[in-house]
């Protein structure tokens, strides 16, 4: 073994440690892909047991799940809208329908938030769509803008029981 080979074996780990030290010290914040999560959990806080058949003004509870992975603190607004089969929504356009509830929350990066939603529907209908839209505060728009995330629940709502 020559002297240069001995030097290389000793120096390589030291240089690797030095590179890691420099990276940690001078570029501490790393952000990969940024995204937000939106999910609706059933009354038992699981992705199951969602209500399907309801009476008008019958109270039911769902849980809202929001996750911030935007790499920074974010201000979210979740709008709950009541639409029907013909209501249009996609990742670009929010649904043009009445808002029945709304929730706002400022969230840290990598924070998740589960919040109970006590909801009721005040109209009858078959195949009504309860849509949950995610909006986010945008500095450039100087207001909330639709973030392209949405979920929906199909509901059949019948007249209330006669007393």
């Amino acid at each position: 073994m020559r002297d240069d080979e001995v030097r290389a074996i000793v120096l390589i780990p030291i240089l690797v440690i030095a590179a890691a030290t420099a990276y940690q010290g001078f570029f501490p914040k790393r952000t990969g892909e940024t995204f937000s999560e939106l999910a609706i959990l059933g009354p038992n806080m699981k992705l199951a047991d969602y209500p399907r058949e309801l009476r008008v003004n019958e109270n039911f509870t769902l849980y809202l799940y929001v996750g911030n992975h935007e790499g920074e603190v974010a201000y979210y607004a979740i709008l709950v809208k009541l639409g029907n089969r013909s209501s249009f929504i996609n990742e670009t356009f929010s649904m043009d329908a009445p808002v029945i509830a709304g929730y706002k929350r400022v969230m840290m990066d990598n924070e998740t938030w589960i919040h109970p939603m006590n909801l009721s529907v005040n109209t009858t209908g078959v195949n009504l769509r309860l849509v949950f839209e995610m909006w986010i505060y945008s500095d450039t728009a100087n207001g909330f803008s639709y973030h392209g995330r949405w979920n929906q629940l199909w509901l059949n709502v019948t007249a209330p029981k006669p007393p």
């Binding site: 001995v6 030291i14 030290t21 010290g25 603190v73 607004a77 929010s94 706002k104 400022v106 909006w135």
Partner: protein, 163 residues
């Protein structure tokens, strides 16, 4: 059709579609603000101001988690004050928002100081690592061969007869 006219047509169509999309987006923003805004103008402005201050402090590297908790509790208070029309509760919420706005720049400064300190310690660590690397470069072969001789110096070398 002339290629130039076709290109102009495509450019015109793209411009018109961009205008339509941007105007519909701004319409959506206004819609959300109108539907799901905090009614109290002062509170609404202060919530946004507090959020911007917190986001700025985070960008500077400050630990904003206590501020986010405080801001969310203030938002909850504003909503509660609006639903119950409780003036005292609204005053409490506004003073909490003021606290967040006041504290955020200090947290940002702490973040900048922490980042500077991290850079200094990293620079010192790097200096130490490079010193170790330089010493290793000069002395490692000498040390290696000394160890080699210590462990294998008493070995006898015997020529093996070739078959």
């Amino acid at each position: 059709m002339d290629g130039r006219i076709l290109a102009l047509l495509v450019l015109g169509l793209a411009t018109v579609s961009m205008i339509v999309v941007s105007s519909s987006a701004s319409f959506i923003d206004q819609e959300a603000e109108a539907i799901y805004a905090i009614d109290n103008e002062e509170a609404r402005g202060k919530v946004v101001q507090a959020f911007k201050a917190v986001a700025d402090a985070e960008r500077k590297g400050g630990d904003v988690s206590p501020l986010v908790i405080e801001l969310n509790s203030a938002i909850d208070l504003v909503r509660e004050a609006e639903s119950t029309k409780d003036e005292d509760l609204m005053k409490k919420a506004l003073s909490r928002l003021d606290e967040v706005i006041e504290k955020a720049p200090k947290v940002g400064e702490q973040g900048i100081a922490a980042a500077r300190w991290r850079q200094i310690t990293s620079a010192v660590a790097l200096g130490i690592e490079f010193s170790i690397a330089s010493i290793a470069y000069v002395y490692s072969p000498q040390v290696f061969w000394r160890i080699w001789i210590k462990f294998k110096g008493k070995w006898n070398v015997r020529a093996i007869e070739r078959r």
